[in-house]
Symmetry: C2
Subunit: 496 residues, 2 copies
């Protein structure tokens, strides 16, 4: 892409000026239409140090209503200081419906710089490229307009600009060590940028702009943006077809095949609870110290005992190092973004344990059954979730998913008990009874969900919960075993 790049001829100044003026007026006209049709627009501006990314973005926004756009400038932290998964900061910054977000460099710079710094291995780098393709596809399928620009300048021009910046007292500090290093390694960067763009060009195309002709670059960027918006406005918001990668899946039983009879004796329960909680507390120290992220996902029938189960896990943990995230219906600002956004922004720092009390699986259960999303949306979600979870485990996270399973008789008994106990009445609502009527439909959805998303890296566990105490011990054991294993592997891989 870059090695075959032919710099366009310098164009006439007056004509360019008129063209830019015209395009800006078009963009202003589009503003309101974009808002009305709730189109989210993401403009990624990548490019060389000193290529003028900042100035380009400034020219693009100069006449747009400030309520209509935002600019984000993601930092590239050294990997040792990084506490979140690779895509975290990019995913957290996606625009909401009806707005434009400009990325002043983004995931390409993040991946390439760390790779060339040897901060990540080439196998990690490959995984990041895969993650980028997944991320971009998920955005496109959710109706996002994604425009990817690369601002290109030659080696000579970069030297000239860096030298000028360094010579002026007021701008000297803007030239970082990393910029100078990039310049020394210009050819290596050229090849790597080029390779990255080739590997991420299939779904959403890259556009190389000439950073040596600032006005032309502005005109070209405006033209591309206006065209993309026009196309989206005339075609309507895109809603992607389900995409299916063959994730290696574990064979899982259907809910109806699960034997719910297991119970535990009171004495064994007490002993095991004490032993497992003690061990979990010890492991939490190691997890925290070694910065292993842990994500525990709780789903299950109403009244299956999620709350009590979570409390038994949380009890031995140091509150500095864990968090319970209860997931309710999405708020307006959450509904205004791709559905995984509200989970991306709730991810724990590395070394922390995060317990999700209900999760992103709402998409393929309640949202599917209540019609809160389209059929394409939830059909797509199985694969999107598998990708999301793989990105989490690639980051090094332990991801465990629990389906708290009871039968209909047990649920009825618990509902009735709740209604009859004054201090528990708040736990039972009309909605619980309505959901109960839809048990068969939910069972179909849950069976499909477990079958399609029980990957080796992020497995489902169906927890027999007719006996609450049995369920608690079983969950604790699974968590303790998984953490033991993660700590051992961590030591084996020499990461400690």
């Amino acid at each position: 892409m870059l090695d075959k790049y032919e710099r366009p001829k310098r164009e006439e100044k007056e004509a360019l000026k008129a063209e830019i003026k015209e395009l800006r007026a078009r963009l202003i006209e589009q503003q309101q239409l974009v808002r009305d049709s709730k189109l989210p627009i993401l403009v990624l501006v990548e490019g060389w140090a000193a290529a003028g990314k900042g100035s380009l973005i400034n020219e693009l926004i100069s006449e747009i209503d400030p309520r209509f756009y935002n600019v984000t400038s993601p930092q590239v932290l050294p990997e040792a200081q990084e506490r979140y998964p690779f895509l975290y900061q990019y995913a957290a910054a996606i625009p909401e419906n009806g707005k434009i977000m400009f990325y002043d460099s983004g995931w390409m710079e993040g991946a390439v710089r760390k790779y060339l710094h040897r901060d990540i291995t080439s196998s990690q780098y490959k995984k990041r490229i895969r993650a980028v393709n997944e991320f971009e596809r998920q955005l496109r399928d959710a109706g996002y307009i994604v425009l990817k620009l690369f601002l290109h300048i030659g080696e000579k021009e970069q030297r000239k600009r860096l030298t000028e910046l360094k010579e002026d007292y007021e701008t000297e500090w803007r030239v970082s060590e990393d910029d100078l290093w990039q310049h020394r390694e210009y050819k290596t960067f050229l090849e790597t940028y080029d390779g990255f763009m080739e590997k991420t060009d299939d779904l959403i195309r890259w556009h190389v702009l000439d950073g040596e002709n600032g006005r032309q670059a502005v005109r070209d960027a405006l033209k591309l943006l206006v065209k993309k918006i026009d196309k989206a406005l005339s075609e309507g918001k895109y809603n992607g077809e389900p995409f299916k990668e063959d994730f290696p899946l574990l064979t899982m039983p259907k809910l109806s095949e699960v034997d719910l009879s297991p119970v535990i004796e009171e004495e064994e329960y007490k002993e095991e609870l004490k032993r497992l909680q003690k061990r979990l507390g010890e492991l939490h120290n190691v997890i925290y110290h070694k910065r292993i992220p842990v994500i525990l996902c709780y789903e299950g029938w109403d009244a299956a005992g999620k709350g009590g189960n979570i409390r038994r896990i949380a009890y031995p943990l140091d509150p500095r190092g864990f968090d319970v995230k209860p997931i309710a219906s999405p708020e307006p600002h959450e509904l205004n973004r791709q559905y995984l956004w509200r989970f991306w922004t709730r991810l724990p720092r590395s070394g922390h344990i995060c317990i999700f009390d209900r999760t992103w699986y709402g998409r393929v259960m309640v949202e599917r059954l209540e019609g809160f999303c389209t059929e394409k949306d939830w059909q797509r979600a199985y694969n999107e979730i598998n990708e999301f979870e793989r990105q989490l485990t690639d980051w090094g996270a332990v991801v465990l998913k629990f389906w708290m399973h009871i039968d209909q008789d047990e649920q009825l008994a618990r509902f009735t008990a709740r209604q009859e106990t004054p201090e528990k009445q708040w736990k039972i609502t009309e909605e619980d009874w309505r959901n109960r009527e839809k048990w068969p439909q939910y069972e179909v959805a849950v069976d499909e969900m477990i079958a399609k998303t029980s990957t080796k890296n992020a497995p489902w566990y169906i927890i027999e919960s007719n006996d609450k105490k049995y369920a608690r011990i079983r969950t604790l054991r699974i968590v303790v075993d998984a953490l033991e294993k993660a700590c051992e592997e961590h030591i084996e891989r020499g990461l400690s």
Copy 2:
């Protein structure tokens, strides 16, 4: 407080256990009532290193529904790495209505540790104590239950615990250099903690708990919490009376006294715009480099030209270093917290310029006039805002506030023009016409607002905006002058 502290006698184990069980049951009963009455509860747990703050919090939460509480563990960053005002992380973490937030150490530790590290001067330390008192009062007045605990252990006990932690491989890493330093300086810390508590004990009292008797501390904390909640439930959510500190105020004209006739010639406008924007761009470099935070607040009549004015300021700025924050009506999760929360969480990092397109002053204008808050709420807000802004300028921020002023005839002309220009129609809504009918009421509110909140550190500027171009040049000049001054002062104070 600590120097007069007499350690309570160790109590009988079985009786304590029963008491704790009873109190936990009470807390569980209170859960739903707290939720229903939308009470927000903040529990601050301060104390010595190795005093057992984490374990105490764990015992407090062990039976609470996870949807009902959260734990935050604020970090104390070295001042040189600190990019936000002192109270930022504590203010960002306040609980929402109906929930409990536990602070695993908080503003006392933040202030004391930095002071003893000589990271801040004693004058800064005093300002932080003042800010803490303001912060706590604001929370109390907004109906927050605030419980402040200090977990106390003696010097000998601390030595024993730190030694034990260090001797065990799995816990060794938990003892930080700072902990050991605190232990060496035990007496200095004792005096400083003590002094801090004395100076922040008037509004909301401190409770010292015995960290050497873990179970007793748990019982005492539970007792205090249950009692506070009971009191609040029976008295109803507190709504504080207006409190008035005598901030030194600038003498400001009433809106009706402002001469709106000034205009600017086209030629002068173009020259000045160019010159001022160039200078602003240069100053932005300095601001960014010296990490001076800048907060520009825009308020004004509908159609007064805020958007165009903001664009002229933003144009020369590097998008990496500024952000426009449009303020719309609060979302549900924002309404569920003290009203300044949504502004705390939008503050810029130091070195960045943040332009608020409408601000926290909505409280004393639209919220006052439309009855979105109580009279006490908006009456209190003048002082609360003065305190908030002083905390910002104490942090080193430049805070400038603009009232874009036009007269009713000019507004009518602009409304009509908007309605007649197709691509501008979206800018005018039914609400604008309704607001226009309330011009006299708004004028009273605006006059009162400007009179009561034009402090020397965060002044209001009434911008004559009948001529938009005149208004832009005037605003640009004010910003440029203020930034020139801030850069000079910064150099003079030897902070560069």
